[in-house]
């Protein structure tokens, strides 16, 4: 019977099919050749060949975030694995389900400093949710099924499976997905009914409430966003979203206050500061959201709904923690609210909204309109106007353009917005857009980029060409690492140390060199035509949108400041706005 057993490489493919995987992102090398050979002999799992392993992970992240499925990566040992580390860390910080197979030198060579050997499980231990080194082929199928369970359940995250080459060759027994139950890992998803009842008590009593929702709602699935939307509308309370949570609640809804945090809206941050009840759902009180912790929302009681108990009381002490899946918990709260026929305090709520509308009237994202130069905010407003009503997915790189995109592009649905929130990985957007486009071949997928970030994974243009992926790269080119320059301007006496983007390529020619279409807009009156042409071109496009070089991203909570100490614009700059303690923060 032995000769009819599949080998390790075939078990990998079998397990992937069993798990419903139809596409993986990877790059071959010596230590994974058996798996590539098994891939060659079948046609159920499609392989997308990237140009750098970091991009394979980001592409899998884009795939996962736009579909809600697990993204799968296949790379070789040594440099293949170490190149994947940035992507894995990114996925860990943003709670994205990823399975990453790494080749490994044969078991008898492990520890011998063999060619392309790296201690992959050692290196990836702190940047994965879990990792495995499979030394016995008979444990391989079970391990893969367990890994998928770990990656997708609870708070999702990346899982590495390190596969020595001899294990890939060895014949072994396959175990089906249904036959594998994890021994210990069973996160709590259903909330405690007592806590749910207590939450509804607090919601009923609130006079100045706010929902503060994050990526946990997106991760929970589209049903969670629907339940959230119903709960927010039923209560009539305001709702603000984190960078990761954009799309969880429709941006165009009057009860949406937009994004909160360092570059969030004035009204969202003042609501957080002045509320008497904060309902955090799938959000983690990140430093970009809270600003100065000692001055954070001083007068509020706080409910924290999270699937990860370690998120509770990590940064901010809360009054009512509820461990559970965001969607299940919101649905339970909504059901309890309806069962009681609960009513908000109408008088208090009316006064609260009156106050919120006053803050909103400050029009905090306002910028100086001009026809002299393309303002980056204006470019994004025009991009948004041109993409409205289409099936559009947006990814970004990291920096000013990312914050402007979060401010000016509106998301009505979840899973349409892919950005590197926790790790802040420049170079994320292009490969993520590739993964999104693979999952949604007919959709409009745009990477809003900066000229510095895009160069960090520009080699993926070649992948776009190979798979004819019509990804649009919309570069807001201000010839500076804009966010670095902004901080140097505000915090370091305008000494622009190494933040100028010197010797940039001609992005139009660069696009053409990769077989894509290059477009450029330098004047305000060219912008709309360029955006239109970009959208209508059924091929990959780079738009070099040359924008105001000096524009800064406002509003802004300076480091170490509180929500009510926002700077609204360049005229609002106070020399003393950043304290000594604030200077050392990032």
């Amino acid at each position: 019977m032995t000769d009819q057993q599949p080998n390790g490489a075939e078990i990998v493919i079998k397990a992937l099919v069993d798990q419903g995987v139809d596409v993986i992102f990877g790059y071959p090398g010596g230590a994974v050749l058996p798996v590539y050979d098994a891939l060659f002999k079948q046609n159920r799992v499609r392989h997308i060949l990237v140009r750098h392993e970091q991009a394979a992970v980001h592409a899998a992240e884009g795939y996962a975030r736009s579909t809600g499925k697990v993204g799968v990566v296949l790379v070789t040992s040594g440099p293949g694995a170490t190149n994947a580390v940035t992507g894995l860390t990114d996925a860990l910080m943003d709670s994205i389900p990823i399975i990453c197979f790494t080749g490994q030198v044969p078991t008898h060579l492990i520890g011998n400093d063999a060619f392309q050997e790296a201690d992959t499980t050692g290196i990836t231990r702190p940047c994965t949710k879990h990792n495995y080194l499979v030394k016995d082929v008979n444990q391989l199928a079970r391990t893969i099924h367990e890994a998928f369970h770990v990656a997708r359940s609870g708070r999702p995250g990346p899982v590495v499976i390190d596969l020595p080459k001899d294990v890939q060759f060895a014949p072994g027994t396959y175990v089906a997905r249904e036959d594998v139950v994890h021994r210990t890992y069973r996160p709590q998803t259903e909330p405690d009914p007592k806590a749910v009842a207590a939450a509804v008590d607090m919601l009923e009593q609130a006079k100045r409430p706010v929902f503060y929702v994050g990526g946990g709602v997106i991760n929970s699935g589209p049903e969670a966003s629907k339940a959230l939307t119903e709960l927010v509308r039923t209560t009539g309370y305001p709702c603000t979203m984190t960078l990761m949570g954009l799309g969880a609640y429709p941006a165009s809804d009057p009860q949406s206050l937009g994004m909160l945090g360092m570059h969030g809206s004035y009204e969202a941050n003042l609501v957080m500061h002045g509320c008497d009840l904060m309902v955090a759902v799938g959000s983690r009180f990140d430093d970009r959201v809270t600003g100065n912790l000692t001055k954070f929302s001083p007068g509020s009681r706080k409910i924290h709904i999270d699937i990860d108990p370690s998120s509770i009381n990590k940064n901010v002490r809360v009054d009512l923690p509820i461990i559970g899946d965001a969607g299940a918990t919101i649905a339970a709260i909504l059901a309890e609210w309806k069962r009681r026929k609960a009513k908000p305090d109408r008088v208090a709520l009316k006064a609260w909204w009156k106050q919120i509308e006053e803050w909103r009237a400050r029009d905090c994202f306002r910028y100086e309109a001009t026809d002299r130069v393309i303002k980056p905010q204006y470019a994004l407003e025009r991009l948004y106007a041109a993409t409205r009503g289409r099936e559009t997915f947006i990814t970004t790189e990291v920096g000013q353009h990312q914050m402007w995109a979060a401010q000016f592009l509106k998301f009505e649905q979840p899973n349409r917005w892919m950005t590197s929130g926790g790790l802040g990985t420049m170079g994320y957007g292009l490969p993520a857009a590739m993964g999104v486009q693979i999952a949604h071949p007919d959709a409009l997928v745009i990477d809003v980029a900066g000229e510095a970030s895009i160069l960090m994974n520009i080699q993926e243009m070649s992948t776009l060409a190979q798979y004819r992926l019509p990804v649009k790269i919309f570069i807001l080119n201000n010839q500076w690492m804009g966010m670095v320059r902004q901080w140097q301007e505000l915090l370091h006496g305008a000494r622009y140390s190494e933040s100028y983007s010197d010797s940039l390529p001609d992005f139009v020619k660069l696009a053409e060199a990769f077989g894509a279409v290059g477009l450029r807009a330098t004047k305000v009156d060219e912008l709309d035509a360029v955006i239109k042409e970009m959208i209508e071109t059924p091929r990959p496009v780079i738009v070099d949108c040359c924008v105001d070089q000096k524009e800064n991203c406002f509003p802004m909570i300076p480091s170490g400041a509180a929500h009510n100490e926002m700077l609204l614009g360049p005229g609002d700059r106070r020399e003393s706005s950043v304290s000594d303690e604030g200077m050392v923060l990032v």
Binding site: R125, G154, R155, I312
Partner: protein, 167 residues
């Protein structure tokens, strides 16, 4: 911070490669303190190991440490023995004292008072074995220092709850 307290935490884990590295990496990566850590397999049939870790921190940090430990995939259970009822703690030390004459006699006399056992002896040295609380071991080792203490090996704390309940 004045509310920093010492806690003894018991962690039941799958005895698999890398599990100790996960626990230690969690403490170092997140800047938590380890005063002592012991680990050994306690159930060979199901490959379960028990880690006893003594750490210190504010209540918020201790709560974080337990939550972070609990979300490691191979971890079965995390118990704070300092908070959850009464427990007993013991540590074992091997203590080598070298010397001759009065000092040698004095070290032997003190060992007797502390109920330390002599488990190795040469003309110019003793190795004492001693079990007790961390404080008791500290006290004995302190007394040995002027009497020719040359080497100490300690296990770190192991602990278990009082009463009939299992972890």
């Amino acid at each position: 911070m004045s509310d920093i307290r010492r806690h003894t935490i018991a962690v039941l884990v799958d005895n698999e490669p890398g599990v100790l590295a996960r626990v230690i990496g969690l403490f170092s990566g997140r800047g938590y303190n380890i005063e002592s850590l012991t680990v050994a397999e306690v159930d060979p049939e199901v490959h379960l190991s028990r880690i006893t870790v003594v750490t210190s921190g504010t209540p918020m940090i201790i709560e974080q440490i337990k939550a972070q430990l609990d979300r490691l995939v191979p971890v079965h259970a995390v118990r704070d023995l300092t908070l959850e009822g009464k427990s007993v703690e013991r540590e074992l030390a091997l203590i080598k004292v070298a010397g001759t004459g009065d000092k040698r006699i004095e070290s032997l006399r003190l060992a007797d008072i502390f109920r330390a056992r002599v488990i190795d002896s040469t003309i110019e040295s003793f190795v004492f074995e001693m079990t007790g609380s961390t404080e008791k071991l500290d006290a004995f080792i302190g007394l040995m220092r002027p009497l020719g203490l040359v080497d100490v090996s300690r296990t770190g704390v192991v602990a278990i709850s009082r009463g009939a309940q299992a972890l």
